[in-house]
Structures are given as structure tokens and as C-alpha cells.
């Protein structure tokens, strides 16, 4: 009998990049044309996996924002709001189909620009983004059915500001319902991850969507502020940090602008003693390490019932050893690069705080690339509710683990947070799940799974996690008067 050698490594398998088309420099997409920024300023967009420059993107100033809003207003009044809804649907379907045709290119660019593993951008981000367009395209000519006994009216011009963690997907979440409801859009992607939104602008251009219906402008916080403060914008939709969300809320106070905010979170993932433990461990891993933990609804606070805590932590540590951290373009990679240097520093800061607080740290001893921004999957045990690392959003692959004794205790602890975006419950018993889900103050609650998204399912938070819902009919209603 031939004895096999036991050591077996997977082959590195880098997704090809030769098929993608990136310009050296991207202008602003305003009124269906590519326009130079009035300041003539550009910033570099880099690949966080190796710190190499990918392209230059324009830095839009107030006057560029004004131009974009004017174009959006004109398109709203003259074309989009008066177009037959069934015609609007055709355009949105067309965008969805074109995105599918460019799926591979979009996935690779998403991974290059943001650092997320190709497996995720290919299997999750891009298909979901397409599905959002398909889903809302279907509603465009059925608004009266969606909201019966109502006079259906669009709002007008929507200013939309999106974050860097799911660049294309967030653009889809924002643009698709706005268009379906008959609004026009000025969208600003995050400065570190604008490239897929700009590719989407190219797709929109190719779709023949009337000029000005979607305008995509890039830039920093001042560009975003100019959108928020522009007097001719009717609705602000923002996804990002709670700090910026509060600034926006203040800025629009006293104006006619409608606002929806999807902000931070520190979501509780709760494992009861009768849970399917091995699947719960998977859910914990998926909850905190998906997209390097750059997920607003990440299950970053783990609560494990004390009777099974040792076993769960042991199994979690074991499972973490089989995570592959490294080049995001490698199909084997489970955890890619941290999105930016700043974010890496934030994560490192919190990990130091955790150590100083006396929490016990466990990190996977895997190798990570020398260049680029990477952080090893990390968990902290021996954490208290009052530990800083258990209260504040870290937005990285860092999990805190707390134990609890009774169900009432864990409900109290899970709700004891300024945030309320999401939660997870793991139990084999349906009645327990319903008991918890009815008492947890969180916008999205998953039972025996985590980080599942669907265009038909509304998403949004309680308390400092924001207000307003995106996805499903709720998300459509946010774009109607």
C-alpha cells in the first residue's frame, strides 16, 4: 500500500486582471458626460493589497456638485418624472443586464480597489448589486400595487453618499430604488473606493439612460458636504459612520430634505446552549470576518451561554486556523486586505485598547503579506460589557466574546448599546428564537445564520444605527413623497 504524503497545499489561483479596463484618470459623470472637476484636482486610488496606484479620480468641488444637481433637476423635470413607468423599468432592467455582462470585470475591480476577497466580490457583492437593479426594475411600473390607496409621487433629486465597504453594492442599493420610484440621482462614492461606481457610470452611459438621471461624482468629505447642503436636493440617503450621520442630520434640520441614514453598529451574535454548535461557529466566523469585518452589521459582539462557552471558543479558535488570509485576488483567500491605512490604524488602536483593558487576545498565527494593509483575525475573550472594545465599532476582523447565564440577561446585554443595527440568534428551539427576536432592538435579526442579504428584505437600524430602511418595499417607499 502506497503511503500518501500528508502535506497537501492548495495551488495559488489568482483571478486574472488582463480583461479589466481601467482608465488612468476618471472625470466626473455629470449630465451623461465625463466632465473635468472645476478645481482640476485629482486624487490617487490605490490597491490596499499592495499599495499600488490603480487610477486617479477627480475631486469634485461645490461648483461641480451644483452642476450635477442642476443636471439631475433638469432630467427629473423634463424626462424621468414624466416618463411612463414601464419605460423607466426598461432602462433599469437594461442596467442590471449590462452589470451582469460586466460581472467579472466589476468583481475584479472591486477586489483591486477595496481589498475584499475575489470570492466575495464575485459571489456576493456583484450578484447582489445586479439583483437590486432587477428587483427594483420590477417595481417601477407597479408602484400603485405596492402602495395602494396612495397618490404615488416621486420626491425629486436624491443626493446619495455611500461608504467604502461595499462600494458597488451600496451604489445599487441607493440608485435602483431611487430610479424605480421616478427620482434622479447625484451619487458620491467613498474616496478610497470609487472605481466600481465609475464603472457603473460607464455602464449607465452605455445603457442609454437619459442624461442627468444618474450623476456620479467623486471626492472627499467636502464634496459630500456640498451635496448635503445643496438647496435643490430633496432627499439625502447616507450610509456610513455615525459621526458623519449626526453631522448630516444637523445640516438638514429645518430644511425640506428627507433623510435616511444607515450608520454604524455593534451587533450582538447570541449563541444559546441548545444551538447547533458547529454551524454557530461558522456563523460567528461569517458574522465577524466577512469582508474583513468592514460590515456595518458585523456580529462583532459575541454572547455565548456560559455552559457551552469553553467549547464554542475552542472550536472557534480551531476554525480560525483554517482561514486563508492574503492576496484578495486569490480564489482561496477568505480574508483579504484592510481597506485603507487609516482603517488599519483604527483597528490596531482598538486592539491595543483591548489588551490594556486586560482582555485575553487570540490571533491566528498565519503569515500575512509584507506589503499592503492586512490584519490577522482576532478574538478577545474575558471581555465585559463595559470594555471599550465591546462598546465601540471597530470595523475590522476583531470579535469580543462575552458569556451570559440566562436569556433575560442576554437580551438586556444585547440591547445595552447605543447601536441597534443587527443581531444573530442561534438556537435549535423555535420558541426561543421568537422570544429573542421579538425583544431585541435591532433592525435586522438573523436566526441560525448571519450576514444574509436579499433585495426583497429591508435593512436598517434602531438608535444610533440610523433610521429609514433600504431594500424591499420599505426601501422603495423611502423614495416616494
Amino acid at each position: 500500500m502506497t503511503e500518501s504524503t500528508n502535506n497537501w497545499e492548495y495551488a495559488p489561483s489568482l483571478e486574472g486582471t488582463s480583461h479589466i479596463q481601467l482608465k488612468k484618470r476618471y472625470e466626473l459623470f455629470i449630465d451623461g458626460k465625463w466632465v473635468k472637476p472645476s478645481s482640476n484636482k485629482y486624487v490617487d486610488s490605490i490597491n490596499p493589497a499592495n499599495e499600488e496606484k490603480l487610477a486617479e479620480i477627480a475631486w469634485a468641488s461645490e461648483s461641480d456638485v451644483d452642476l450635477a444637481v442642476k443636471a439631475a433637476r433638469k432630467a427629473y423635470v423634463e424626462v424621468w418624472s414624466v416618463m411612463k413607468p414601464s419605460e423607466r423599468a426598461k432602462y433599469i432592467f437594461r442596467i442590471a443586464r449590462l452589470m451582469q455582462e460586466h460581472a467579472r470585470e466589476l468583481a475584479v475591480i472591486e477586489t483591486l480597489d477595496g481589498g475584499k476577497p475575489i470570492r466575495e466580490s464575485r459571489d456576493i457583492d456583484v450578484p447582489l448589486a445586479c439583483n437590486h437593479f432587477f428587483y427594483y426594475a420590477g417595481w417601477a411600473d407597479k408602484l400603485q400595487d405596492a402602495f395602494p390607496h396612495r397618490n404615488i409621487q416621486s420626491i425629486g433629486v436624491a443626493g446619495q453618499i455611500i461608504p467604502w465597504n461595499f462600494p458597488l453594492l451600496m451604489a445599487a442599493w441607493k440608485i435602483a430604488p431611487a430610479l424605480a420610484a421616478g427620482n434622479t440621482v447625484v451619487l458620491k462614492p467613498a474616496e478610497s473606493t470609487s472605481l466600481t461606481a465609475l464603472k457603473l457610470a460607464e455602464i449607465i452611459e452605455a445603457s442609454g439612460l437619459p442624461a442627468g438621471v444618474v450623476n456620479i461624482i467623486t471626492g472627499y468629505g467636502d464634496t459630500g458636504a456640498a451635496i448635503v447642503n445643496h438647496p435643490d436636493i430633496d432627499k439625502i440617503a447616507f450610509t456610513g459612520s455615525t459621526a458623519v450621520g449626526k453631522m448630516i442630520q444637523k445640516a438638514v434640520a429645518g430644511t425640506r430634505k428627507k433623510v435616511s441614514l444607515e450608520l454604524g453598529g455593534k451587533s450582538a451574535n447570541i449563541v444559546l446552549e441548545d444551538a447547533p454548535i458547529d454551524q454557530a461557529v461558522e456563523g460567528i466566523v461569517n458574522g465577524i470576518f466577512f469582508n474583513q469585518g468592514h460590515v456595518c452589521c458585523a456580529g462583532s459582539r459575541l454572547y455565548v451561554q456560559e455552559s457551552i462557552a469553553d467549547e464554542v471558543v475552542r472550536k472557534l479558535k480551531l476554525r480560525m486556523q483554517s482561514l486563508y488570509v492574503g492576496n484578495p485576488l486569490d480564489k482561496n483567500t477568505d480574508i483579504g486586505a484592510i481597506n485603507s491605512k487609516e482603517q488599519l490604524e483604527t483597528i490596531e488602536k482598538y486592539v491595543k485598547i483591548g489588551i490594556n483593558e486586560g482582555a485575553e487576545m487570540f490571533q491566528v498565527a498565519c503569515e500575512i503579506p509584507d506589503k499592503g494593509f492586512y490584519f490577522r483575525p482576532t478574538i478577545f475573550t474575558n471581555v465585559a460589557q463595559s470594555s471599550v472594545i465591546a462598546q465601540e465599532e471597530i470595523f475590522g476582523p476583531v470579535l469580543t466574546v462575552q458569556t451570559f447565564r440566562t436569556i433575560d440577561e442576554v437580551i438586556q446585554k444585547a440591547n445595552n448599546s447605543p447601536y441597534g443595527l443587527a443581531a444573530g440568534v442561534w438556537s435549535d428551539k423555535g420558541s426561543r428564537i421568537f422570544n429573542l427576536t421579538s425583544k431585541l432592538r435591532a433592525g435586522v435579526i438573523w436566526a441560525n445564520t448571519y450576514n444574509k442579504f436579499d433585495p426583497a428584505s429591508p435593512f436598517g437600524g434602531y438608535k444610533e444605527s440610523g433610521f429609514g430602511r433600504e431594500g424591499g418595499l420599505h426601501g422603495l417607499e423611502a423614495y416616494l413623497k
Partner: protein, 304 residues
């Protein structure tokens, strides 16, 4: 045997299993990239882990002899290929296989205990097993009494396995759960825990006579039982998915799963086997494709 007897009361509680979660986990094993040298090594490993099987009512000595030749000569045109791990036959064919394999290191596995249904008196099952061992079997693949198991008589199932293990002595015992008849993953897990604690050296999914057989979900569930047992006791138990694994791709996905759940210590035919009748030739075709860059027709790979 001097080892202390295992007690049914010592079988630990089995964890609950969430099928949706298992499906999700399993799908991740299928996205690992196996190509180039990694694929070649994987394919070679698969070949060395095969229990080349014929379990038909129409089996004859000549059929078994031909299969035994194939087991030793997988594809003589290619140097450096391993042989399969074992041949797997009915008890009545063990002596034929023994004679055909002579002093080859290839093991002879015999099914027993009224395979495949297990619906025979206990005494008959014992005789069946003893007969196979006397005829020269190195390994025994027994079936559990699924009827008893589903009726809730778990202790009966436990005792039966323990008794057969006693007859086996140092011969390795594989316990077939016939997961296609157990229906839920919770039952698969319970049966795995019972078999392991009753003394199974290997746990095996299926007879090959019932569909579905060795799905990745089922194998995953059984691997987790082995994992938990190892973590609790430090003792390794082997795994044998059987039935339905007929392509290289599926076999490699299984190896990925073993590597990531149990670790590389299990990546040898001492601890992992494939029960299969048609897998070998698909692996050989893929192997030759890797070596030559060209796909050859099935007519260049001999069936026996």
C-alpha cells in the same frame, strides 16, 4: 481482547445540526483551488485511498480476480502511480481475492452482517463476520441495523457494533450507517457517535445500494463527529464516504473537507477511504490529462 468494554451510557450527547448551515459550509470547500502540482498530488492521494468495490449479486470469482488485477495495475502506462488501498467484496469472495492478491499490500475489505440490509438474526451476522475473517479479510465493513436505530433502539445498535468489533479483534472495523435511510443530519450525527463509541475504527456513509449516499453534507457531519471525538479523547477514527463519488472533482472536494476539518494527519489511506467502483478511472483520466495536457478517451482506461 483485553481492552475495557465500552458502555452505551458513555456515548456523549450529540449536538444538534442545522442543515442550512451545513450546506453553506460545504459549499465553501468546493471553491478551493486545486490545480497543477496540487491537483496531481490530490489525484494520486485519491487513488491510494480507494477501496475498489464490487458488491453485486452477480459477482463471480472471475469478476473478482479481474478487479484484483486492476487494483494492482491501475494504469501501467504511467509510472509512479499508487495502487488502491483495498478491494471490497462480499464474504463469499474474500478467499478468491486473497488468492488473487497473494502478498500484495492491498487490503481486503469484506462487507458483513447481512450486507446491505442488515436484516438478519444477530447470530447470522456474527457467523458472517467470522467467515470473512477466516477467509482472509483484513477489514470488515459492517452495516448497522437501521430499523432498530429508527425505532429508537440505539443501545441495540451499539451492542451489535461492539460485539462485531470483538470478533474483529485487530482487524479494522468500518461501520456503515447507511445515511440515506437515516434521513436527517441529526440522526447521522447520533449514529456516528454511537458507532465511534462502540468501537468503530472507521465510520462509513453508505452501502451504495441506497440513494442519496455519500453527499458532502453527510460526510461533513460524520467528519465533525470524528473531530469532536478526537478533541475529547485524542483517538483518531477513520472516515469512508461510499457511493455516489464517481468524479475526481467530488473526490478532491472531499479531501479539502478532510484537510480543513480534521487536518492533514487524516490525509492518508490509513484514515480516509473512498468506497467506489467507477471513481478510479475518472481520476486516472484526470491524472493523465495533468501529465500529458490531453484528455484521452475512456477506451484507454480499462474497466477491470
Amino acid at each position: 481482547m483485553t481492552a475495557q468494554k465500552n458502555q452505551f451510557s458513555e456515548v456523549p450527547l450529540s449536538p444538534t445540526i442545522d442543515k442550512v448551515g451545513v450546506e453553506e459550509r460545504v459549499s465553501r470547500f468546493q471553491t478551493r483551488s486545486i490545480k497543477g502540482p496540487s491537483k496531481l498530488q490530490g489525484l494520486s492521494m485519491v487513488l491510494s485511498m480507494i477501496d475498489l468495490t464490487t458488491l453485486e449479486g452477480k459477482d463471480t470469482p472471475n469478476k473478482v480476480r479481474q478487479m484484483c488485477y486492476k487494483a494492482q495495475h491501475l494504469h501501467d502506462f504511467q509510472e509512479g502511480l499508487p495502487t488502491v488501498a483495498a478491494v471490497c467484496v462480499y464474504p463469499s469472495m474474500v478467499s478468491v481475492a486473497r488468492e488473487a492478491l497473494k502478498d500484495s499490500p492491498i487490503k481486503i475489505a469484506s462487507v458483513s452482517t447481512a450486507f446491505p440490509s442488515g436484516q438478519a438474526p444477530f447470530e447470522v451476522k456474527k457467523i458472517d463476520t467470522q467467515f470473512a475473517i477466516d477467509a482472509g479479510a483484513d477489514e470488515i465493513d459492517m452495516v448497522i441495523s437501521r430499523g432498530k436505530f429508527l425505532a429508537g433502539e440505539h443501545e441495540f445498535v451499539f451492542d451489535e457494533i461492539a460485539a462485531i468489533k470483538e470478533i474483529c479483534g485487530t482487524k479494522r472495523l468500518k461501520v456503515i450507517l447507511e445515511t440515506g435511510e437515516l434521513a436527517t443530519l441529526d440522526q447521522v450525527r447520533r449514529a456516528s457517535d454511537i458507532a465511534i463509541h462502540a468501537g468503530a475504527d472507521f465510520i462509513k456513509t453508505s452501502t451504495g445500494k441506497i440513494q442519496p449516499a455519500a453527499t458532502m453534507q453527510v460526510t461533513y457531519t460524520m467528519l465533525m463527529a470524528i473531530r469532536d471525538h478526537f478533541d475529547r479523547t485524542g483517538k483518531m477514527v477513520g472516515m469512508k464516504p461510499a457511493g455516489g463519488i464517481s468524479t475526481s472533482k467530488l473526490a478532491l472536494h472531499n479531501l479539502v473537507m478532510v484537510k480543513e476539518i480534521l487536518g492533514e494527519a487524516w490525509l492518508s489511506n490509513e484514515w480516509f477511504r473512498f468506497g467506489a467502483s467507477s471513481l478510479a478511472n475518472d481520476v486516472l483520466m484526470q491524472y493523465m490529462k495533468q501529465m500529458t495536457g490531453k484528455y484521452q478517451s475512456a477506451d484507454y482506461f480499462m474497466i477491470d
